[in-house]
Amino acid sequence: MRLGLDEQGVTEVMAAADQARGLAKLAVGLRLDPDILQSPGRAPLVPEVQAEDAAPRVSDLFAEILAWAHDDLGIDHVPALWRCLAHHPVYFDAVWRRDKAIMAEGKVTRFQKRCVAYAVAVNSGAVYMTDWYAASLRRLGLDDHGFLEVLAVVDYFNNLNTLADGMDIESDIRPYGTYE
C-alpha cells in the first residue's frame, strides 16, 4: 500500500485507524445516537455532563472541544461522546489529547486520515462515528461521488478479505518490493 509513504506515514495511517476504531467502540458501548448532524433520538447510557455541572478542568476541555467542533465538524455544540467521557476527567483528557494528535496534519493529510477513519467507522458498523467523520469530510469538500469512492474501497476490500480468509490464502505480497 505504500505508494511513497515512509514509516511515519504508515504509522499515522495505522494510528488514525486505531483511533477511529476505539472511538467507534466507545460510541457503541455508550449507545450514542448521532448528534452531529441531527438531534439524538434517545438518551445515551450515561448522561451527558452539562457545561454548568462541569468541574473547571472539564470546562476548559469543553471550551477547547467547542472550538474544534466548530472548525472540524461545522457544529456549535460539544458532541455527546465527549460529554459522556467527561464523567471520567483523566480518561477524557487523555482520549481527547490523543485524538487531536493522531488526527492532525502530518505525513498523511487531515483529509486522508478522515477518509481512513470514516471507512473504519463504517466497517465497524458504528453509526455515531460514521456520522462524525462524514461531517468532517463534508467540511473538507468531499462530495457524493467521493463518498461512493470511499465506500467502494471498503466494499471491495471486504470482498478480498473474505476470499483471502475464507480460502486461507498465504500472503505472497512483499511490502518492500523484493521478489526473487
Binding site: 500500500m1 505504500r2 505508494l3 511513497g4 509513504l5 495511517v13 495505522m14 488514525a16 485507524a17 477511529a20 476504531r21 498523511v108 483529509f111 486522508q112 477518509c115 481512513v116 471507512a119 473504519v120 466497517n123 465497524s124 468531499l142 462530495d143 461521488h145 467521493g146 469512492e149 470511499v150 467502494a152 474501497v153 471498503v154 466494499d155 471491495y156 476490500f157 471486504n158 470482498n159 478480498l160 478479505n161 476470499l163 483471502a164 480468509d165 475464507g166 480460502m167 486461507d168 490464502i169 498465504e170 500472503s171 505472497d172 505480497i173 512483499r174 518490493g177 521478489y179
Partner: protein
C-alpha cells in the same frame, strides 16, 4: 497451506488467462509483483469471479475525487480491522 488448491502459472483456461494477462500487467506496475498473486490464483477456479472482480477492481480504482494513496490507506485500514493478514 490454503483450503483450496492454487492453480499453477500456465495451467489456467484460455478464458481466465485472457483476464490474467491484464491483471498481471497491472499488479507488476502497481506492486512490482512479477507473477499472478495468490488472491487472483484462488479465484481462477471460477472464471466469472475473476472477470467480475477484476471489473470491480478497475471501477474502484478509476480516477475520481480521492487519490490512489488515500484509497490504499483506506484499503489497508479496512483489512487491519478485519484482521486480514493477506
Amino acid at each position: 497451506m490454503t483450503t483450496i488448491r492454487l492453480p499453477e502459472e500456465g495451467g489456467f483456461t484460455p478464458e481466465v488467462e485472457a483476464h490474467l494477462v491484464e491483471i498481471r500487467k497491472s499488479e507488476l506496475e502497481r506492486f512490482g509483483i512479477p507473477r499472478t498473486s495468490n488472491i487472483w490464483r484462488c479465484m481462477t477456479h471460477w472464471a466469472p469471479l475473476v472477470e467480475t472482480t477484476w471489473r470491480k477492481s478497475k471501477a474502484v480504482r478509476s480516477p475520481g475525487r480521492i487519490d490512489p494513496l488515500t484509497r490504499e490507506c483506506i484499503a489497508s485500514a479496512v483489512s487491519i480491522t478485519n484482521h486480514c493478514r493477506y
